[in-house]
């Protein structure tokens, strides 16, 4: 065994801390990417970048049928009957002598967490793999009691107790429910509802608001939510800056995306209006 092919001679070539600093993401010259928890030094999760057998280094056991004296036999090498449309060198009779098939090794050149903490990306030979957290399907409630049910949320909504409904939905921690409560809350009562939110729910609510805002047409409504959150709890969040960093970034990102989109349209409209104004001026002058 050479060290090159020894499956245990793999190592990490890129590490990255998660946004809260509790975990590291590490990838290297292997098909695996690992997430470790630092304080306990345990492997939390392992991802396999690719299962593509056209790459090298995917299989743990090679098939001896495909290995010969001179190297690996590519059983799928049907380049002879596959139409070769690439231009040959003039005068070449045996096809392209320089052409050859080589397999690309699987590896991860670089890994990085996004600052929002909701996704991370890895550069491999196949491109940029973006892994993101898709936790809509996961039921992850906090401090659950018998009274905390989706029914209770809706009942409170009907009776106009928006802040209680929001608190219960935050306890249930389900995206669809929180969104429903957020959108049912009247615009005028947002400041009061925000005041009722305790510090333990702030980060969660901010994440929810930024997520809802991303694909919602109610831009001003959600901006009002953001503004009220920052106005009411800004000082507290400033003190606990580290814990809220992820939420801040997520919020900033959604606002930024909307800003970019709107800016383009507004600019275009403004230029069109300017143009029309100029044109009318010209026409008026001519007359």
């Amino acid at each position: 065994m050479t060290s090159d092919n020894n499956s245990s001679s793999r190592y990490f070539t890129s590490v990255c801390y998660s946004a809260d600093g509790s975990c590291v993401l590490a990838g290297g010259n292997s098909k695996y990417i690992c997430i470790y928890e630092i304080s306990q030094q345990i492997l939390v999760k392992k991802f396999q970048v690719s299962f593509n057998r056209s790459l090298d280094g995917i299989l743990d056991e090679l098939n001896s049928k495909k290995l010969a004296d001179g190297g690996p036999i590519d059983v799928n090498d049907d380049s002879g009957d596959e139409a070769d449309f690439s231009a040959n060198v003039p005068g070449a009779k045996r096809g392209d002598d320089g052409s050859r098939k080589s397999r690309v090794e699987v590896m991860t050149a670089q890994v990085a967490f996004s600052s929002t903490g909701r996704e991370w990306a890895a550069v491999s030979n196949e491109g940029l793999h973006v892994y993101s957290l898709d936790d809509d399907m996961i039921f992850d409630p906090i401090s659950l009691t018998e009274e905390i049910t989706p029914g209770a949320v809706r009942a409170n909504l009907r009776t106009g107790k928006h802040s209680i409904a929001l608190l219960i939905s935050l306890h249930l921690n389900e995206y669809a429910l929180v969104r429903e409560v957020l959108e049912e809350t009247p615009y005028g009562s947002i400041p009061h509802v925000v005041k009722a939110i305790g510090s333990e729910h702030l980060e969660r609510l901010m994440q929810f608001i930024s997520k809802c805002m991303l694909d919602s047409p109610h831009l001003e409504f959600y901006m009002a939510w953001c503004l009220e959150m920052l106005k009411t709890h800004g000082l507290f969040m400033e003190k606990q800056r580290g814990g809220f960093m992820r939420a801040f970034r997520a919020m900033n990102r959604s606002v930024q995306i909307h800003h970019d989109e709107l800016k383009r349209i507004c600019d275009e409209n403004r230029y069109t209006l300017d143009f029309m104004e100029d044109q009318t001026q010209i026409i008026l002058d001519r007359n």
Binding site: T2, Y36, S54, L62, N76, S86, S114, V123, V130, L133
Partner: protein, 663 residues
């Protein structure tokens, strides 16, 4: 009944105490990691969301051999969603919302061909090892896996959705299309159709799914009926000198008795032959008859209004539905009716036909495509997309968006021919990607490639919106300084800063003697740029503002592998193959850097976001966590066994030889 986090903790504490008293291993406890998850609040159910890089074909393929790589691209029935195979995954490109996502399922090897059922429910993916995967397209769940014993080049669902046909070496096989429910053996063979001399490269279904036509590399096209039709001998159309790239049925005009009248075949040498079928049971004066029907229709319309019209069309429909297209075929004889030539001087590599609009698209090896209207064969327009082979073309049902795949540049193009604009124009890094960086707000990702180009990707849509080509060699590292400045180091001996407002290179940093930069960092305030090199083991520092070389840090005795700035202070950590990590204080005049020794070569390092800890990785697979203040080791994680796995076929030959030499 109230279960809270604190009660969990109490329970856990009690359990731990109990375990300590009885010397039980901790891992047997009920909630061993509850404290961990409470503390980190992090979730780990990350799923592959998207694969950025190439839009079509195989990333990292060398440019000459990959001309035949890549599968076919298909539109879904709505015509707004495009499926494009990228190595062993399928990219789903939504042309209306302009977003791209990657299907969760993964083929065993590179995808050769894919087909989607007419109702968009089933997706059939066949890879280069002839291993087929049946996928529920909406949920992207694999329903069944199957291996074909011979080479499969194309597959196609029938328009009725009851069958799918695959090319099977020299044969064509028709299988019953499975349902969505999971079955033990969902694939049931209907029949195998034989008679072609060489590999089948194209399959086409007739509009009512009763007739199938396949073209081969030998230049012949054969027409079979799906069910056995009495008195029908499969007909062979031979009129080409080269392999037939495409064969298509013409749209059946209403009032022609629902019979197949015309077939167009396109061969790779640039010839188009149109074949007409004459039926012996029809009168010679078909034209007159059709004219008569038309005129009588017109008269009825004129006198009777719409009621009679509806009646006549109904009777016509009922007349059509009595016999399938296959049942008419035994009385038909196919003859060449016209020949046309494309006069393009290169091979035809891909072709497709929009039946509803009678539009023929032809892609050539030179990267030119032509759009023709049939049967007049008038050229609507011709355009040169690139100088790369066009491997596959597709047209949506409404006939407005043409999609092209060029595997050598990993390019996917969607062209709206009426307005002559690109809907999508995406290509990957040639020879693959090497480094990436997230912008500070997480909206943009910058990637650097082996080809020296920098691409900027929008993380919400997954599309590349800008390509910067200022470097002349592979890019080794890229970092964001703030959200509008991206810096890259390259093997061409420069570090360049790019402005993301005007998308241009606004500053270039070089060393006094040319050297290849392999690592790069920028300080948190965005004033100092540092880069490390492989050959002289120096670290160069420049002023970001004026591009002047400030200092050359020497002291390492091995190549610099990684550079990182402390997130809050002005200190710089440099990892090197000499087995040390040096922590430099850039703003102090004198003083040696702090050196942290490792047992093996250090290849990577990273600071914790709060700057208190630093993580380094060595070639032994060991991750070490260091306290930044006193440079003491906090803990070590041996990841060697976690990352181990996978063997290389290309290196086994080396193993055998080494073994022989030693013997």
């Amino acid at each position: 009944m109230k279960i809270t986090g604190t009660s969990f903790e109490k329970k856990l504490k009690a359990q731990t105490k109990h375990a300590k008293e009885h010397k039980l291993p901790i891992k047997h406890l009920a909630f061993p990691f509850i404290s961990l998850f409470k503390r980190s609040k992090m979730k780990f159910n990350y799923k592959l969301h998207r694969l950025c890089g190439s839009a079509y074909g195989e990333p990292n393929a060398s440019n000459t051999s990959s001309a035949s790589a890549g599968g076919n691209i298909v539109y879904t029935s709505s015509g707004n969603v495009l499926l494009s195979p990228v190595s062993n995954r399928v990219q789903v490109v939504d042309l209306l919302t302009h977003t791209v996502r990657t299907l969760a399922c993964e083929a065993r090897s590179n995808i050769k061909t894919l087909a989607i059922s007419p109702d968009d429910r089933l997706l059939l993916i066949i890879d280069t090892e002839n291993h087929a995967m049946l996928v529920n397209f909406q949920r992207s769940v694999v329903l069944h896996r199957f291996t074909f014993k011979r080479t499969v080049r194309v597959c196609k669902f029938s328009p009725c959705g009851l069958y799918f046909a695959v090319s099977y070496g020299n044969h064509v096989q028709v299988w019953h299309a499975p349902g969505l429910r999971r079955e033990f053996a969902p694939f049931v063979l209907h029949r195998t159709y034989t008679g072609l001399g060489a590999g089948v490269i194209n399959i086409e279904w007739s509009p009512d799914s009763s007739v199938i036509m396949a073209s081969s590399r030998s230049g012949t096209v054969r027409i079979w009926t799906i069910q056995t039709t009495e008195g029908y001998e499969p007909f062979t159309l031979s009129g080409h000198k080269c392999s037939v790239v495409g064969a298509f049925f013409e749209k059946i005009p209403p009032g022609s008795g629902g019979r197949l009248r015309k077939v167009y075949t396109v061969s790779s040498d640039g010839a188009l032959v149109s074949w007409a079928c004459t039926y012996s049971d029809e009168d010679d004066d078909l034209e007159n008859k059709a004219g008569l029907i038309e005129s009588s229709d017109a008269a009825v319309n004129f006198f009777g209004g719409s009621v009679n019209n509806a009646f006549s069309s109904q009777s016509e429909n009922s007349g059509q539905s009595n016999m399938t297209q296959a049942e008419h075929l035994p009385k038909g004889v196919w003859n060449v009716s016209a020949r046309h030539y494309f006069h393009q001087d290169t091979d035809v590599t891909a072709t497709n036909f929009s039946t509803a609009n009678n539009l023929l698209i032809v892609g050539f090896a030179s990267g030119i495509f032509g759009l023709y209207e049939l049967p007049s064969m008038s050229n609507i327009h011709t355009l040169s997309l690139s100088n790369q082979v066009i491997r596959t073309v597709a047209i949506n049902d409404t006939g407005e968006w043409l999609a092209f795949g060029c595997p050598s540049s990993q390019q996917l193009l969607v062209w709206e021919w009426r307005s002559e604009t690109y809907i999508i124009k995406q290509r990957g890094h040639a020879y693959g990607m090497r480094c990436m960086a997230y912008s500070n707000d997480g909206v943009v990702v910058a990637t650097g490639g082996e080809d020296g180009s920098i691409k900027l990707w929008n993380t919400s849509s997954g599309f590349c919106y800008c390509t910067l080509k200022s470097h002349t060699a592979a890019i080794t590292a890229c970092v964001f300084s703030n959200s509008s400045v991206v810096l890259t180091s390259s093997l061409d001996g420069t570090v360049r800063a790019h402005d993301l407002h005007r998308y241009r290179n606004f500053r270039t940093y070089t060393s006094p003697t040319p050297c290849q930069f392999t690592s790069l960092a920028v300080d948190p305030s965005g004033e100092v740029v540092v880069a490390g090199t492989m050959d002289p083991f120096h670290i160069y520092t420049w002023s970001m503002q004026n591009g002047k070389l400030l200092d050359i840090l020497t002291g390492h005795v091995g190549p610099i592998s990684d550079l990182r700035f402390h997130p809050t202070r002005g200190t710089l950590a440099s990892a090197s193959w000499d087995g040390t990590v040096k922590v430099w204080d850039l703003y102090k005049r004198e003083g040696e850097p702090e050196s942290i020794k490792h047992a093996q070569d250090v290849v990577c390092c990273a600071f914790r976001p709060d700057g208190k800890h630093m993580c380094t990785g060595t070639i032994g697979g060991l991750l070490s966590i260091w306290n930044v203040d006193d440079c003491k080791l906090v803990c070590e994680i041996d990841g060697k066994r976690d990352i181990a796995g996978g063997k290389f076929t290309s290196k086994t030959i080396c193993v055998i030889r080494v073994g022989q030499n030693e013997l």
